[in-house]
Each structure stands twice: as structure tokens, then as C-alpha cells.
């Protein structure tokens, strides 16, 4: 079991800055995220899109913002626990005990939920029969590409993931790339390569087509797709790879006994505490009168929540407000050299 002063759920910009705010007041924390890297929506939804409303940063991309935040919080050496989702939370006296789906257990007097709109999950194929082939013949990401040798693979999607995997897997497989419209949105050079492979007969492109049924009982044998003009076509398929991006689901947070209002958690704006003592919510996931879903609001919310955490983490100490410009304590924590 990992014991600490605060556990942060969510490594998006708000969660990352909360690490910094806890760090400068001398609190330790651990940070957990379901994704395989830090950055949250910034890195998953708009890594290359410029953001124009971070104070004192006229323009930066989601990726640049994430990297700057990671650099800013680096002195505090917070441990990241990625690729895992907090499944359970229970109270033991003044402590919260959290367990992730990887079996890691944490204990702390404070939990800060900076979970955005929930955890990211792949958007799945809408046909019900897709479920029974999931993980065997239908995949939403590729973890073991050695599985695919001399197979018939249908790839769905119009973005970089679909194009990149179509190219890669076409080296040793028969690939059909299917998309609902004729325009692809992937990088131009990748698209050119795919078109070249199509000319060479290495990739078959089917647009504008959508998936209408999956054939096979215990083993999937093929699929049926429908052209925009209404014509159907059958294709043999050993595997389907589907890349329709990510959706956000609140997930287990909804079952922790917290008040929830339209997928957000109401908080007290003095401390950002929820209806449970010691559980705080900041960033897009919290709500209060006047709430704005802005990154800068998440920073402010984290600063206040961190101060509230102090009282529960160090009940016998008095918190004293200090400025980073003047405090020797803070300079020591930041590792500032004289």
C-alpha cells in the first residue's frame, strides 16, 4: 500500500498543476490516470491545436502546455501511476483507501478528483454482434501486431490511426480500408502512401461505406458494408480494426457516493471539497455557480484544494501562506540554487 498526503485522480492540466500546488506547500502526492501518458484532453483531443487563453502564454498547443506543466512540477517528484483506473474508494477513519484495476492500493487523507469528463475509452462499433468478437477478432487498438500475418483485415476509420495501421499491416496482410466518406483526415504524406499502395493493389479502399453487419457465429468470417447510394457489399474478414477515436465516461466515480449533477460533481468554492470530507473535485469535473470549463479555472481550483488538503494531511501544523518569490521553504522544495 502506498501512503501519501494526497492522491490525484487524473493527469490532465488541472491534475498536473495540483501536484505543483501541493508540492510548494510541502505535501506529497501520487497521481493516477487511465491513459498511458499525462496530459488528459490536451494530449488526447487537441495535442496540435493552439490554446490562446492560458495566462501569460499567448499561444501554445495542448502538447506544449502538458510538457511545460510536467517541467514545472518536476521538482516535486510525484509518482505517476498510468494505464490504470481507480475502481474502488473506501473510508478508514480519516483516510481514504483507493484501489485501481491493476490492483495498486493507495492510502491518503485527501483525494483530489481532476478527472475531466471521465476516463477515455475507445468508441466501439455500434453493432451488437461486435461485442462477442471483441478482443479476439475485433480490436480498437493494436497491442500485438504479430497476430496479423497473411490475414484478411478490414480497417475502419479516416484518421491517422486507421491510415498508419493500413500501411503497416498491408506489408504482410490483405488490407481493406473502409471509411464513411471519401475524404480522409490523416497526415497528407501518409494518405499519399496509402493511395500509392492502393495503386499497387496492396490496399483496397472502400469509400463512402459503413459497416452494416458482421457475419459468423463463433468465429467471424466476414462483414457486410453499405455504400452511400444504398448498395451492399460482402467482404471476407479475419480481423476488424476500428479507429473511431475516444469517448469519455465518468466510470466508477459515479458509484462513490458523491453528489453528481449532470455528470459533474458539486463543490464548495472555498475548498473545492465535495459532499465527502477529504474528497475534492477540480477542473472540468466540478461544478458550482458560475463554473467555467477553462484550464485557468482548473489551476485556481487546484490551488485552493491544495490548501484545504494541508489541514487534513498535517492536522497538528499551522498552514502559513507564503509567496514563491520570498519563501525559503518553497525555494528549498523547488530545489532553487542560491
Amino acid at each position: 500500500m502506498i501512503k501519501t498526503d494526497a492522491i490525484i485522480i487524473g493527469a490532465g492540466p488541472t491534475g498536473l498543476f495540483a501536484v505543483h500546488q501541493l508540492g510548494i506547500i510541502g505535501l506529497k502526492c501520487e497521481i493516477i490516470d487511465n491513459l498511458d501518458r499525462a496530459g488528459g484532453q490536451c494530449i488526447e483531443l487537441y495535442p496540435d491545436k493552439p490554446i490562446y487563453d492560458i495566462p501569460a502564454v499567448p499561444e501554445c498547443t495542448g502538447e506544449e502546455l502538458t510538457n511545460s506543466l510536467l517541467k514545472q512540477m518536476a521538482p516535486f517528484k510525484a509518482n505517476f501511476h498510468l494505464n490504470q483506473r481507480v475502481e474502488e474508494i473506501k473510508q478508514e477513519n480519516n483516510l481514504w483507501i483507493l484501489k485501481t484495476n491493476k490492483g495498486n492500493v493507495f492510502s491518503a487523507p485527501n483525494v483530489i478528483i481532476a478527472g475531466g469528463v471521465g476516463s477515455f475509452e475507445p468508441r466501439k462499433i455500434i453493432l451488437k454482434e461486435a461485442e462477442k468478437f471483441e478482443g479476439n477478432q475485433i480490436f480498437y487498438s493494436v497491442t500485438n501486431k504479430n497476430l496479423f500475418q497473411n490475414k484478411k483485415i478490414s480497417i475502419f476509420g479516416g484518421g491517422d490511426s486507421a491510415l498508419d495501421w493500413a500501411l503497416e499491416l498491408s506489408k504482410t496482410n490483405q488490407v481493406t480500408l473502409i471509411h464513411r466518406r471519401s475524404e480522409f483526415r490523416g497526415a497528407a504524406h501518409t494518405l499519399n502512401e496509402v493511395k500509392q499502395k492502393e495503386k499497387e493493389g496492396k490496399i483496397l479502399i472502400k469509400t463512402p461505406y459503413t459497416l452494416t453487419s458482421i457475419e459468423g457465429d463463433k468465429i467471424m468470417t466476414g462483414i457486410e458494408i453499405k455504400h452511400e447510394d444504398g448498395n451492399f457489399e460482402k467482404i471476407k474478414a479475419d480481423y476488424i480494426l476500428s479507429f473511431f477515436g475516444l469517448i469519455m465516461k465518468l466510470g466508477p466515480i459515479a458509484e462513490w457516493g458523491l453528489n453528481i449533477d449532470k455528470k459533474t460533481i458539486p463543490v464548495n468554492t472555498e475548498t473545492f471539497q465535495t459532499n465527502k470530507k477529504g474528497i475534492f473535485a477540480i477542473g472540468d469535473i466540478c461544478t458550482y455557480p458560475g463554473k467555467l470549463k477553462l484550464i485557468l479555472s482548473g489551476f485556481h481550483e487546484g490551488a485552493l484544494a491544495a490548501r484545504a488538503c494541508f489541514k487534513r494531511a498535517k492536522p497538528n501544523e499551522t498552514y502559513r501562506f507564503e509567496f514563491t518569490t520570498a519563501s525559503k521553504n518553497i525555494h528549498d522544495r523547488l530545489g532553487v540554487k542560491k
Binding site: 484532453q41 483531443l45 469528463v117 484518421g159 471509411h179 466518406r181 483526415r185 452511400e228 469517448i247 469519455m248
Partner: protein
């Protein structure tokens, strides 16, 4: 104030007044209309405010940008008349607009 009608996937109609300048997505959220999730809050990053717009209205709305079409690729059952409701800004010309929400958004 323009009246906007939100039609659920099973045909239930809900007509509300939405101020000029707001989006069809915001009109739905402010009036507690089911069927529009709007997870990303209107930054064109999630496709969970997806609606279908009838042919006769489609020409009266500003055309989609590439980024909106790209995002619609991710939507639940996109069709030719699909739009993201966060990108439809209410004007007096849109008084009487009808949009249909999909069975679900995710």
C-alpha cells in the same frame, strides 16, 4: 426569440426558445433536453452533441468546416445530414429549426 425543436430518436418533440447567438447545443443543455451530451463543452473535440438536420434546413445553416466533418467521423451513426450542434449558431433565420438527436451519443 427563435424557437428550436429538438426531436428525439423516437419522435418526441420538444420546442424551446433559444436566444440569438447561442448554439443549438447550448439551447439543449439550458433546457435540460435529453440526447445531447456535449462532453467537451463545445470545443469541437468530442462529437457527443451530434444531431441530424432535415434537408430543407441544412442549406440555411452555415456549411460545415473540415474540422467539423473530421469530428463527425467519430460520431454515433453519422449520416449525410449530420451536424455538431455546438457549431450551429442560432439566428433569426433559424427560427423554427428542427434537429433530431441520435439514439445515443457514445
Amino acid at each position: 426569440m427563435p424557437k428550436i425543436t429538438y426531436i428525439s430518436h423516437d419522435g418526441k418533440k420538444n420546442t424551446v426558445e433559444v436566444p440569438v447567438g447561442l448554439t443549438v447545443m447550448e439551447g439543449a443543455l439550458q433546457n435540460n433536453i435529453q440526447g445531447i451530451d456535449a462532453d467537451c463543452g463545445g470545443s469541437m473535440a468530442c462529437a457527443t452533441c451530434h444531431v441530424y438536420v432535415s434537408e430543407n434546413w441544412l442549406n440555411k445553416i452555415d456549411k460545415t468546416q473540415d474540422a467539423e466533418q473530421d469530428m463527425l467521423d467519430m460520431a454515433y451513426e453519422p449520416k449525410k445530414n449530420s451536424r455538431l450542434s455546438c457549431q450551429i449558431i442560432i439566428s433569426d433565420q433559424l427560427d423554427g429549426l428542427e434537429v433530431t438527436t441520435p439514439i445515443k451519443q457514445t
